[in-house]
């Protein structure tokens, strides 16, 4: 038996969908720039981010210091690049923790809707949710001391109930559909149905939430660093840079504006990317797009 040639339009329509989605292109571009900056910083930065050069403090943009220098004469460009590393890593791992723990919990609870297990999982989530993320972070840093790793743990724990609730809610509505009944008639168990049928159908909701949580993670990291509970000096962080420069805002506004802009742009880029991804991943939306 000869297999018919692979559906000719599938790959092409996907490529067209990716190229055709303006928000996805723009979002990926912005995010890509920051990811590239973070990666390049491992091998090269214009200056050493930690070298102090007091005589050249608070300089404006120049060919030597593209984004000027801060109050200790450190190169802002280099700090932004290394800071991107910190911000992205913290946010990425924290969201990863949230997704990897939260989604299975949510799917489990949805599959056993109304049971004692469902109650326990969801009430535990409520308990975590009841504490603001920052409070958890302060709690953790108070016990284990400040640092990037503890910030990751704090933000990650906060992310778990977000994803657990979201996936449970989305999964419950999918469980009502007839194709789930059809799968059960095919003898599939709850775990298998959750992975094969439920997960793909709640994926776009999850993708959008992931990008939102990712940007919230960046903001949370910045906030923790701002109050001094994030990455510790000399490791630069966007939040820390903001905190250090706020008293100098009248004297050298660029030192505060640059890290602020970096945060805003990354969050914007991620949100645009999330919207675009949702559209591309949904086969129902592919036909309408020309």
């Amino acid at each position: 038996m000869s297999m018919p040639a692979p559906h000719p339009t599938k790959a092409r329509s996907l490529r067209r969908a990716v190229l055709g989605s303006r928000s996805l292109m723009l979002g990926s571009l912005i995010t890509g720039v920051f990811v590239a900056m973070a990666l390049i910083s491992f091998v090269w930065t214009p200056h050493s981010y930690a070298s102090l050069d007091i005589p050249n403090k608070l300089k404006g943009f120049s060919s030597d210091h593209w984004l000027g220098t801060d109050m200790f004469g450190r190169d802002v460009m280099s700090m932004i690049m290394v800071g991107a590393r910190t911000s992205l890593a913290v946010a990425l791992i924290a969201v990863g923790v949230g997704v990897l723990a939260g989604v299975p919990l949510g799917l489990f609870a949805a599959a056993r809707r109304g049971s004692l297990a469902d109650e326990i999982v969801m009430r535990a989530n409520d308990l975590v949710f009841a504490f603001p993320a920052l409070l958890i972070a302060i709690l953790i840093t108070a016990v284990f001391g400040p640092g990037a790793v503890n910030a990751i743990i704090a933000i990650g724990i906060f992310n778990i109930p977000v994803f657990a609730r979201l996936s449970r809610g989305a999964a419950l509505s999918i469980w009502q559909r007839e194709f789930i009944l059809a799968a059960r008639v095919s003898g599939k168990g709850k775990a298998r149905i959750s992975v094969e049928h439920i997960l793909p159908n709640i994926l776009n909701t999850l993708i959008v939430q992931t990008t939102i949580q990712f940007s919230l993670g960046i903001l949370a990291e910045a906030a923790l660093a701002y109050v001094g509970l994030g990455a510790q000096p000399p490791t630069p962080s966007w939040g820390k840079m903001l905190a250090d420069s706020q008293t100098l805002i009248a004297l050298a506004p660029h030192v505060a504006i640059v890290p602020g802009l970096a945060i805003v742009l990354t969050v914007l880029g991620l949100n645009l990317m999330g919207d675009g991804l949702r559209d591309v991943f949904d086969p129902r939306l592919q036909r309408g797009r020309r």
Partner: protein, 534 residues
């Protein structure tokens, strides 16, 4: 009311539609989905979606509605033209009482006070058969049944005695006995108030019994119109003929030799009881449990097609889920191929029974290709057969689809094609019994006829038995050997299909059959009436 003419030209949705309704007249507009019949109704109400452009003229007693502004239209909607929608479950606002909702129409259009409006609402609700003592104005929609809600919707539409009533599939979502009552109500209201009514439906039998004149629509055009009897008797247009043929379609069946009574049944249900735990239970109050299936026994022998008929809520879907071993029984026993069946039965046993559901849109995972969807029941086998891909294509071709379709996604198919895919999925494990749970109810008549043909053909060739669950008696009649009538969790009558339909014993069966609109009986009744008048 004078004459209402409607011309819409220029838009690709509707082409040059001419319709007219006189006072006291019922115009039936018939068409299959996508024929533009609902769009015609919305054009008259000027409730078209954004971007729609209307051409031609719509005249209500001489006023051209097409030229009216939105503000004027707001004065006309509800006052001059009332509308009844298909879905009574969503046409009412769940947080407002029925009295408020009927009175709303009055308050919006007239300068009456609230008390007076409520008085009008009260009277209107009486007229539609919701008496004050049992249905006070303070009732909420969720406290009413589907038929009662549809009565409230009708009350809203006729509260101000409009000149024209548009009913868009008013009974499609209702059970047959309820449908008969609502149709009778509408007919009575039209006669009493002398209003014109446009009855939009896909069901020829409903129209044949009710409408004075009919118009048949197809792809945005009226292919034929005229007095009901004339249209049905002459059927000038080929589409009218094909629609008529599809409605009375009898799939050709080479009936297998009468199944021997000694043959062991493939499905044997004995005294099945399914109890749902009571809802709304509190510490002090414990409502009684619902016995959805109450001591049902049935048997299906190889090659036999059995119908299960009943109205919504009678327990037929619960029974089918128990048979499919999706739910546990609280009493009795189900035996498949001689072995006890239940939620924990081995997959090999499950492979012998498959299912086709009602909703062609909800029964597929939208993110899977057709090949993967159809192959899903392979999960029941010890290991996936080596020729799995070939068997998927074989199954698709068996149901009249092409091998290329395997790589498409489900949204690329129409409702009828999806139902074919559902049948292919049910065939893939080569089962001996397929449960068809309202499998053709959501389809247009011509598609329904094709699917019924396909089912009859498959049953003949492959020797598959069907358990055909439906509320539609004419469909069940055409494809089954034996039929069971279910009411309130019990089977009230069972027997060979022709015997049950021609000579129903149980009063409920008689009621059901009487309520079912039948094209032939409706037409002959009409003929008699017209010859009486001559």
């Amino acid at each position: 009311m004078e004459k209402l003419t409607l011309d819409i030209g220029g838009t690709p949705i509707l082409h040059e539609i001419d319709l007219s309704v006189s006072p006291g007249e019922i115009l039936g507009v018939i068409g299959e989905s996508g024929s533009g019949k609902s769009m015609t109704a919305l054009s008259i109400m000027r409730l078209l979606p954004e971007g729609a452009r209307l051409g031609g003229a719509i005249r209500l007693m001489g006023n051209d509605l097409a030229a009216c502004g939105e503000r004027q239209m707001c004065g006309i909607r509800g006052r001059e033209i009332g509308m009844v929608f298909q879905e009574p479950m969503t046409a009412l606002n769940p947080v407002k009482t029925i009295g408020d909702q009927v009175a709303e129409t009055v308050l919006v259009h007239t300068r009456t006070g609230r008390r007076e409006a409520m008085e009008i609402a009260r009277r209107t609700l009486e007229r539609v058969g919701l008496p004050a003592d049992r249905f006070p104005l303070s009732r909420y929609p969720h406290e009413l049944s589907g038929g009662q809600r549809q009565r409230v919707v009708i009350a809203m539409a006729i509260a101000l005695r409009p000149k024209l009533l548009i009913a868009d599939e008013p009974t499609t979502a209702l059970d047959v006995t309820t449908q008969a009552q609502i149709l009778k109500l509408l007919q009575g209201l039209v006669r009493e108030d002398g209003m014109g009514m446009i009855l939009i439906t896909h069901d020829l039998a409903v129209v044949a019994g009710l409408a004075d004149r009919i118009a048949i629509m197809r792809q945005g055009e009226i292919v034929e119109s005229g007095p009901t009897l004339d249209v049905f008797e002459t059927m000038r247009h080929p589409y009218t003929r094909s629609l008529f043929a599809a409605s009375v379609h009898q799939p050709l069946r080479h009936r297998p030799p009468e199944p021997e009574r000694q043959m062991d049944p493939i499905l044997d249900v004995r005294d099945a009881v399914r109890i749902y735990p009571p809802r709304g239970r509190t510490l002090w109050h414990r409502p009684p449990a619902v016995r959805a299936v109450d001591g049902v026994s049935l048997a299906i022998r190889p090659g036999e097609n059995v119908g299960l008929v009943g109205e919504s809520g009678c327990g037929k879907s619960t029974l089918s889920r128990a048979i499919l071993a999706l739910e546990e029984l609280q009493g009795g026993e189900i035996r498949l191929f001689g072995k006890t069946a239940g939620p924990h039965m081995p997959n090999a046993l499950r492979a012998g029974i498959q299912v086709v559901f009602q909703d062609p849109f909800g029964s597929f995972n939208p993110r899977w290709t057709v090949a993967r969807l159809v192959a899903e029941p392979f999960h029941l086998m010890q290991r996936k057969p080596v020729d799995a891909a070939a068997r998927v294509i074989e199954a698709l071709e068996e149901v009249g689809l092409k091998a290329e379709d395997a790589h498409k996604y489900i949204h690329e198919f129409s409702g009828g094609q999806r139902q074919r895919i559902a049948i292919a999925r049910a065939l893939i494990t080569r089962p001996e019994l397929i449960v068809l749970d309202e499998a053709v109810s959501a389809l247009d008549v011509s598609i329904r006829a094709q699917i019924l043909d396909l089912l009859a053909d498959l049953s003949d060739r492959l020797g598959i038995s069907y358990l055909f669950i439906s509320h539609d008696l004419s469909v069940v009649r055409s494809i089954t050997d034996r039929v069971m009538v279910m009411k309130a969790g019990k089977i009230v009558e069972t027997g060979p299909t022709d015997d049950v339909f021609n000579n129903p014993q149980h009063p409920y069966t008689r009621e059901l059959i009487a309520a079912t609109p039948m094209l032939s009986t409706a037409l002959s009744a009409r003929r008699e009436r017209s010859s009486d008048n001559d």
